[in-house]
Amino acid sequence: MMRKGLLCVVLAACRPQPVPDTTPPVVEAHENTAAALVGAAARVVAIEIVALDDRRVIATCDAALLADVRTAIAGGVREGLTATPPAWPVALRLLMQDGAPFIAHLVGHDRLRLCPADPWRDCIADTPAPGEVAVPFELFEDVAAKVGMPPRPEYGTDGTRSSSGPF
C-alpha cells in the first residue's frame, strides 16, 4: 500500500514546472481593525508619528520600544474604549514586515484605537466598530518626547491651584 505522502510527491513530480513570478510583490491588504493588528503584532517593524492634518511624518518612535509594543498588542483586543481624547492631533502608522501599514490613534496613555471604516478619523461617534489594543506607557512618553507636551487639558497639570506645584 502506497503511503499518502509519497503519493503527493509522485503527483507533484508529474506537474509542469511553474514559471517564476517576476511581478512585484503585492502589498497584502487587511482591515484596519484592532483584531487584525493583534494577529499581525509580531510583524510590526516601525512606528511613525504622522500629523493628522497633512499626513506628514513627524518622527519615528524609538525602536527599542518595539518589542514591548508588540507584546502588549498581542495581548488582544481590550474591552471598551478610552474616554480620554487623543493627546495630540497625530496618528501612529505601524509599518509591517510585509503588507500594508496599520493606522492607529494613541488614546489615553495606554491604548491604540483602530477604526476600520475611516482609519484617519480619531472620533468614535458614527465610526463603526472602533477597537483598541494596549500599548506600554513608554510609547506615550516617547511620543511626548518627540511631539511635545499634549495640548489637550486632560493631560495637563494646570488647574491644581498651586502656583508652586506639588514639590
Binding site: 471598551g80 478610552t82 472620533c123 511626548a144 494646570d158 488647574g159 491644581t160 514639590f167
Partner: protein, 425 residues
C-alpha cells in the same frame, strides 16, 4: 356638563397633603386650581386650549414639580398625561353631579408622594472631540439607580435602589443645552419638563477652532453654573433632598470639562469664575455666593461622583516613579509641569497626599458640600464600556495595577468597584 381636573395628594402614610399651589401652565399662562364645590383643588377645563400643558404642583418642602399633560377636545375637554404616566400618580375619570347643569366629569389626579422630597442630579458633558453622547451614560445610571442593579463592573452587581417612584432625576445635557427632569413612569420614565439653560443651545459646530471655542465661551448657553444654581435652589426649597450628583464628561485635574471653554486672563489667576466659562473649576467653591445653599441641598449620606478622567500625565509619571523606586528616600530626577526636580519616592507620596489630592475638584466640592465625592485617582483615565444597551464609564484597574497598588500601599487609598477614589471633606 363640564369637565374639571382635580388634584389630590397623599403622603406615604396615606394622610392628605395640602399643596401650597397647583396650576396648569400653558406657555407662560398659569391657571391656578381652587377648591370648587367641595371637590378639592380643581380647575374647569373649559377655558383651556387643547395641546401640551404642565401640571405644576408645589408641596410643602418640595420644589415645584411639573408633570407633562395633554389637553384634548374642542367642546368637551379631556386631560391626561403626555407620554408615559408617572408611577406616583393614578389618574381616574369620575362623574359628579353638577346641579341643574347635569353631570360633571372629573379627571382626578391622585398623587402618592413622600413627605420628604428626594432628587438625583446628573450632568452630561458634551464630548467636544469624540462626538459620543454622554447623556447615554447618565441615563444608564438613572435606570440602574431605579432597578438596583448595575453592569458598571462588566458583570451584574447589586447596588442600593436610590430612586423611588417619587424621586426626581434631573439631567443637565450640555450637548443640547437642556435641563430635563424625569420621574419614574408606569413604563420607562415620565418626562416632567425640559428647559433650555441660558438663551441659546450649545454651539456644537465649528470643531475645536479658536473661533468656535471663543463663541462657546461668549454664548449665553448651558454652564456648570446652571447646575450649581439648580442645586442651590433645591437647598432652599427642599433642604436635605439631593441624594446624588453624578457628572459624566471629559475631566482633568482642574475639574469636569463640560464643553471645553476657558478662563480669560482676567479671571484665570483669581478665585472668581469667568462668567463666560462653562466648565467646572476646582476654585468654583471659593467664590460661590450661595455655597451654604449648595451644602443644604445634599441629603445626609448624599454623595457625588465625577466619572471622567484624571489622566494628568505628570501625576501618573511620578506615581510610577515612586512605585518603582527601590530606595524610597533616594533622590531621582523627574520632570513635573515642565520643571526638573530631584525628589524621592517618599517626597512624591507627601506631595500627592498634601498638595495634589487636596487640590482636586472632587476634594473642593466634597469640602464645600460636606459630602464624599468619588473621582478618578490622579493620573488615571476613564474608559467607556457598553453592556448590551447600557453604557458605563469606569477606570480600568488592570491597566493601572501598578498605580493602584502604590496608592493602596503608601496612601491607604482603595478604589470603589468601578475604579474611583473617595474624596472626603
Amino acid at each position: 356638563m363640564s369637565e374639571h381636573a382635580v388634584v389630590k395628594v397623599k403622603d406615604e402614610n396615606g394622610a392628605d397633603v395640602t399643596p401650597k399651589s397647583v396650576a396648569v401652565v400653558i406657555g407662560t399662562t398659569s391657571h391656578a386650581f381652587a377648591d370648587i364645590a367641595g371637590q378639592g383643588l380643581s380647575l374647569d377645563l373649559a377655558a383651556l386650549a387643547a395641546g401640551e400643558a404642565k401640571l405644576v404642583v408645589t408641596l410643602p418642602d418640595h420644589p415645584e414639580l411639573a408633570f407633562s399633560l395633554k389637553i384634548s377636545g374642542t367642546g368637551s375637554k379631556s386631560v391626561g398625561f403626555d407620554g408615559n404616566s408617572p408611577l406616583c400618580c393614578t389618574l381616574s375619570k369620575q362623574t359628579a353631579s353638577d346641579g341643574a347643569a347635569g353631570t360633571r366629569t372629573l379627571f382626578v389626579f391622585g398623587f402618592a408622594m413622600t413627605k420628604k422630597h428626594t432628587e438625583v442630579v446628573l450632568a452630561a458633558g458634551w464630548d467636544y472631540h469624540g462626538g459620543a453622547d454622554n447623556s447615554l451614560y447618565a441615563k444608564t445610571w438613572r435606570d440602574d439607580l431605579w432597578s438596583g442593579t448595575t453592569y458598571g463592573t462588566g458583570s451584574k452587581t447589586t447596588i442600593p435602589k436610590v430612586v423611588t417612584p417619587t424621586t426626581v432625576v434631573t439631567l443637565f445635557d450640555f450637548k443640547t443645552g437642556n435641563r430635563t427632569r424625569y420621574i419614574k413612569g408606569k413604563s420607562d420614565w415620565h418626562r416632567m419638563d425640559k428647559v433650555l439653560q441660558g438663551t441659546v443651545a450649545t454651539d456644537t459646530a465649528g470643531g475645536e477652532t479658536d473661533v468656535a471655542i471663543t463663541k462657546r465661551h461668549d454664548d449665553d448657553s448651558i454652564s456648570i453654573v446652571h447646575v450649581y444654581g439648580y442645586i442651590q435652589d433645591l437647598g432652599v426649597a427642599a433642604a436635605g433632598s439631593l441624594l446624588r450628583l453624578d457628572i459624566f464628561s471629559h475631566a482633568w485635574v482642574g475639574g469636569p470639562i463640560m464643553i471645553n471653554t476657558f478662563e480669560t486672563a482676567a479671571f484665570s489667576s483669581t478665585t472668581t469664575r469667568d462668567p463666560g466659562d462653562k466648565d467646572g473649576r476646582s476654585k468654583d467653591f471659593d467664590s460661590m455666593a450661595r455655597v451654604a445653599d449648595l451644602k443644604k441641598a445634599f441629603a445626609s449620606g448624599g454623595t457625588a461622583k465625577m466619572w471622567g478622567c484624571q489622566a494628568t500625565t505628570d501625576n501618573r509619571t511620578i506615581v510610577r516613579a515612586a512605585a518603582r523606586a527601590k530606595d524610597k528616600s533616594a533622590k531621582m530626577k523627574i520632570t513635573y509641569a515642565g520643571k526638573d526636580f530631584d525628589i524621592s519616592a517618599d517626597e512624591i507620596a507627601t506631595a500627592i497626599r498634601t498638595k495634589i489630592l487636596p487640590n482636586t475638584y472632587m476634594k473642593a466640592l466634597a469640602k464645600a458640600a460636606g459630602i464624599t465625592m468619588h473621582g478618578a485617582p490622579p493620573g488615571m483615565g476613564a474608559n467607556l464600556r457598553a453592556v448590551g444597551s447600557r453604557n458605563y464609564m469606569y477606570v480600568d484597574q488592570s491597566t493601572y495595577a501598578l498605580e493602584y497598588k502604590w496608592y493602596a500601599d503608601v496612601l491607604g487609598l482603595k478604589p470603589d468597584a468601578t475604579g474611583y477614589f473617595a474624596y472626603v471633606p
